[in-house]
Amino acid sequence: MNPLRTIGTGLLRVFSSFRLSVTLLVFLGLLTWLGTLAQVDRGLYEVQKEYFESLFLVHRVGALGIPLPGGNLVLGLLAVNILVGGLWRMRGRKNVSGVIVVHVGILMLFAAGLVKLQASNDGHTTLYEGESKSYFQSYHELELALLRPLADGKIEERTVDGASLAHANPSHPAVVDGQGLPFRVEVTRYFENAGVMPKGPMFDAPTPVIDGVFARPKPREKLNEQNGAAVYVDVIAADGSVQNGLLWVYDAHPWTFDVAGERYALDLRRKRFPMPFRVSLERFRKEDHPRTGMPRWFSSDVTVDSGKSSRLVTIFMNEPLRQDGLVLYQASWGPSNARPGDPLFSSLAVVRNPSDQWPLWGCIVIAAGLLWHFGRKLIRHVSREVARP
């Protein structure tokens, strides 16, 4: 007997087995349950990365660490199990057409999830009435932008992914090459969450003081979008002169500096993604249920200008705008402490997700398969029972 064939058959048997299905489902259930409980103390973002978007993890129960397969590994193996056991080995069997259809639908969901994980961007564009933007910003990811005014009044932007700065320290700074510019930028310190405050005379600052202020590191927030990152940067000119800067993600304006008589700016900010159209907020409406503070309705009337044409669209809860591969949703509004007559802003969530509608098709396929399979069984069972004396 061919040993390779034997191994192949053995692997096929393992990967198509019900035992593997049940084991993986139990692990998936366990991960889901533990990941749900962990959110209470650690927040969704961190838990999602650790439990559901990982290959392995160690779940802590007090001092005890329990190693577990991560969500990506379990779901990956489950996809293989469905492919091999739920489709390939079922071919040609009787009365399993519905089951095969269901498994196809489940695989469509898996594919949608995979595409979303790998190829989607999400964020928000926040606008006051009358304001317009042609980009959206990530809720979580950061970038360091080097800005250079051009002669025609435009601004040239060069960006560095915030993730590449995360390990910067004075001994091993993250170096941003000027690429033809007369200086380079070194990020010497990175804080995932920090407050920037003035240095007073009665205490020592734990970090360098620049222009009278310093970054005070703070513990991570449970809600990741509330973390305010800060970096210390050195701008080192070609002649060796150094300018120090402190950048904070909540700064209202970029930090400007001059090198060789030209002005530049550095900005630590949420990552920006361009949109193929410009969105202008014409009017934001918010209604509460009468005599309560409970929101009943909020919507944004926006003009979407693609360069060739423009149209007025109303975006409200459960009714997003879909255009050019992007989906804009009514997410929130503010400021929360606005008084009557104060200008309001509207925050529109923006998602670029190539698999946006796949779950809907998957749902239709799954529902059809389940109804076909169990419907037939039910009819057979009822017929048998009715015929019973």
Binding site: R19, V22, V327
Partner: protein, 712 residues
């Protein structure tokens, strides 16, 4: 009534209300209203009646020192009760009958929707509310504040010797300690809810209840207290009277506003004196109006106003001074309220005929406006819904079905008892269906949009599944399970209503305001819950019966029951899986992502995973009948976790269904189901050891040359 207000916000206001109530409504039993002292007291709350309780010495309940209010001589007329009950009120973001408002307000205060007066006579919620509006001194004696632990009232400095640990207190008894109650509640409300001790939480709840009561008892203060003017003064000349009614002020609001402007600029000392008097009058009127801020009984006139928010008397006054005069119909409503307030005579008895006339007049003035605004279309239906009390009859029918089922266990051969059981369970289920349908019509919503409605819907759906199953296989197992499920489900929904103490037909937050998704995702997944719970119930029956009787005693029974469990799980899987994915599609349209690992989403996923795992384990021969029954019980706890447990975590985007106090019920259910799982283990071990012993005694079990192994 927005009862979720932070105490921080209402404390200063409530202080004024406390004062007004004490100076006005309660002490007004004598009707001795004199001009100067009243105004002085109103302007200087700390100076008179309300004084904080001393820290060291507990205060004896005030009722001891007060003359007892005499027992009621004349009851509210039937007309008064009917008219008042159907009056529209805007509360919690919607227009509802006053009877609904009365029911849920009393439920919140008293823990049930009836009360007892000081003589121990039972009062329905409408009588209580009318007493509180019209005769607050009397209603102040009703023990309607449910206190779970006497430590709460001890903490605010009251003596608790005369009361039980868990008892009901009247406002009159609590009154001396109200300032301290509000102070403590203000302090404790700074603490995050989950970090409060039980006593702190109860102090906050009691303060909220007292605040609600004060808002109601002070509602007609404006009507009970004519505003005195200085005799011979400019104002008295202007109005031609020494006493003003609140409605006079509203009617002349524009003139008074102009008069105030003129007097303030005047150099004439007399006119400046009149200016001060006017300011004092207006301040007092504003205080009176502020006491009524929670009760909005008057719709804005449809002809003149497109505004949605209804008026309170205080708001009518503010609007009048802001240059928006009240219309004739609005003034007529205000005058009717004044008549209602004035129906309390100087001898502390209510002129019931006058009160009835006032209520009829109020209805005549507000009803047409509300109807013209299209806000009363389903009001009568709501009154009918609560009057019919279909859910209570459904509970009675299920209890009857359960009792009949119990008797039929004792006499298995009797054919009539199962038929009667089926009839009673069917009646209960039909009543549920009618009740849910009425709710859908009243709300113009699909059947499920709140946690309370999930209980009703799961009970009804579970019962329909059970009865359908019984019609198909006629083995009585599903019938008995239906009776049990119906009874427990109705007890739970009643318990939830009592625990939640809020209108069960509330307004919905923006994201839920979509009938399409409520009808699809929510309805479908709730059917999945029902199937999961019913499968767990059948699994429990399987395990308990097998523990008692053993499988060999009736293999056909257990095989059939096993099939029913499997069928219910499969049915549940269809709805849970499709419902969960539909939820993801809704989330994609609302929040921009199909799946966000939010606790509620994870809970739904857990249900699907558990049901898929059980069906695969069955197919793979990993679980057989007993194992599937045990797994169905465990999956029932997963349904409960998804249904209620995830809401208790207090995180995620689905926090709109949060209800405190259901933790113990949830853990009770977990405990029962896990205990039954443990029993399944016992059954499995016992039967395995029996098989082993049979194998070790070949002559006894292999007489026909083979042994039988029970399906495990």
């Amino acid at each position: 009534m927005n009862t979720q207000l932070s105490l921080n916000a209402f404390l200063p206001l409530r202080r004024t209300a406390v004062l007004l109530l004490l100076v006005g409504s309660l002490a007004l039993g004598s009707r001795a209203v004199s001009a100067a002292p009243t105004l002085t007291a109103a302007a200087h709350p700390s100076a008179t009646a309300v004084q904080a309780a001393p820290e060291a010495a507990p205060i004896a309940p005030a009722v001891r020192a007060r003359p007892a209010v005499t027992a009621r001589k004349v009851d509210w007329s039937k007309t008064s009760l009917v008219v008042a009950g159907s009056l529209p009120i805007q509360d919690g973001g919607r227009v509802k009958p006053l009877s609904t408002f009365a029911n849920f307000t009393l439920l919140r205060l008293n823990g049930k929707s009836t009360a007892k007066d000081q003589a121990g006579e039972k009062l329905d919620s409408m009588r209580w509310l009318l007493d509180t509006f019209v005769d607050p001194r009397r209603s102040g004696e009703y023990p309607i504040f449910q206190v779970q632990d006497s430590a709460t009232v001890h903490a605010i400095g009251l003596e608790v010797d005369t009361k039980k640990k868990r008892d009901r207190w009247s406002f009159a008894e609590l009154r001396p300690a109200v300032p301290k109650l509000f102070d403590l509640a203000h302090e404790y409300s700074q603490i995050e809810g989950k970090n409060r001790t039980t006593m702190q939480a109860q102090v906050v709840m009691l303060a909220e209840a007292v605040d609600i009561y004060l808002g109601l008892a002070g509602f007609l203060d404006f009507a009970r207290m004519p505003i005195p003017l200085s005799e011979g003064g400019i104002l008295a000349q202007e109005f031609g009277t020494a006493r003003l009614n609140f409605s006079d002020l509203v009617r002349r609001g524009g003139d008074l506003s102009a008069l105030r402007s003129r007097l303030e600029k005047s150099d004439d000392p007399l006119e400046r004196e009149a200016s001060r008097e006017l300011a004092s009058v207006l301040r007092f009127a504003a205080d009176l109006g502020r006491a009524s801020l929670h009760v909005a009984l008057q719709p804005p006139d449809a002809v003149l106003s497109a505004r949605e928010a209804w008026h309170t008397p205080g708001e009518l006054l503010s609007s009048a001074f802001d240059g928006m005069p009240a219309t004739a119909a609005e003034l007529a409503g205000l005058v009717a309220l004044e008549r209602l307030g004035a129906s309390l005579g100087s001898d502390n008895t209510v002129d019931m005929a006058e009160a009835e006339a006032a209520l009829v007049a109020l209805d005549a003035s507000t009803g047409p406006i509300a109807a013209a605004r299209g806000e009363t279309r389903r009001l009568d239906l709501e009154v009918t819904y609560y009057r019919l009390d279909l859910l209570m009859y459904a509970l009675a029918a299920y209890i009857l079905a359960f009792v009949l089922a119990a008797f039929s266990w004792l006499r298995p051969a009797a054919a009539l008892l199962p038929r009667l059981t089926f009839g009673a369970a069917t009646v209960g289920t039909l009543l549920m269906v009618v009740a849910i349908t009425l709710r859908c019509i009243i709300r113009e919503r699909p059947p499920v949009s709140t946690l309370y409605e999930t209980l009703l819907f799961v009970t009804a759906t579970g019962a329909i599944i059970g009865l359908s199953m019984e019609l198909i296989n006629r083995r009585r197992i599903a019938l008995y399970a239906t009776a049990a499920l119906g009874m427990v489900g109705m007890f739970l929904s009643n318990g939830y209503e009592t625990l939640d103490k809020r209108d069960t037909m509330p307004s919905l937050v923006a994201v839920l305001d979509t009938n399409f998704w409520l009808a699809t995702h929510v309805t479908v997944i709730t059917i999945g819950y029902a199937a999961g719970v019913f499968a767990a119930l059948l699994g429990s029956v399987y395990i308990v019966v097998r523990l008692i009787r053993g499988r060999a005693s009736a293999p056909e029974f257990f095989t059939s029951l096993g099939r029913m469990i499997y069928g219910t799980l499969a049915f549940g899987l269809v709805f849970s899986l499709v419902g969960t994915i539909l939820g993801g599609i809704w989330a994609n349209d609302s929040w921009g992502r199909f799946w966000g690992w939010d606790p509620k989403e994870n809970g739904a996923l857990l249900i699907c995973i558990s049901q898929v795992a059980i069906l695969h384990a069955r197919l793979g021969g990993i679980l057989r009948e007993l194992g599937i029954a045990a797994a169905a019980c465990f999956a029932g706890t997963i349904v409960a976790f998804s249904w209620f447990g995830t809401n208790l975590l207090g995180v995620g985007l689905h926090s709109y269904g949060f209800t405190e106090g259901i933790n113990s019920a949830l853990w009770t259910y977990y405990g029962i189901q896990w205990s039954i799982c443990a029993l399944a283990l016992v059954v499995g071990v016992r039967e395995a050891s029996m098989v082993k012993s049979q194998v070790s005694e070949p002559p006894a079990t292999s007489a026909r040359g083979r042994t039988t192994t029970p399906a495990t």
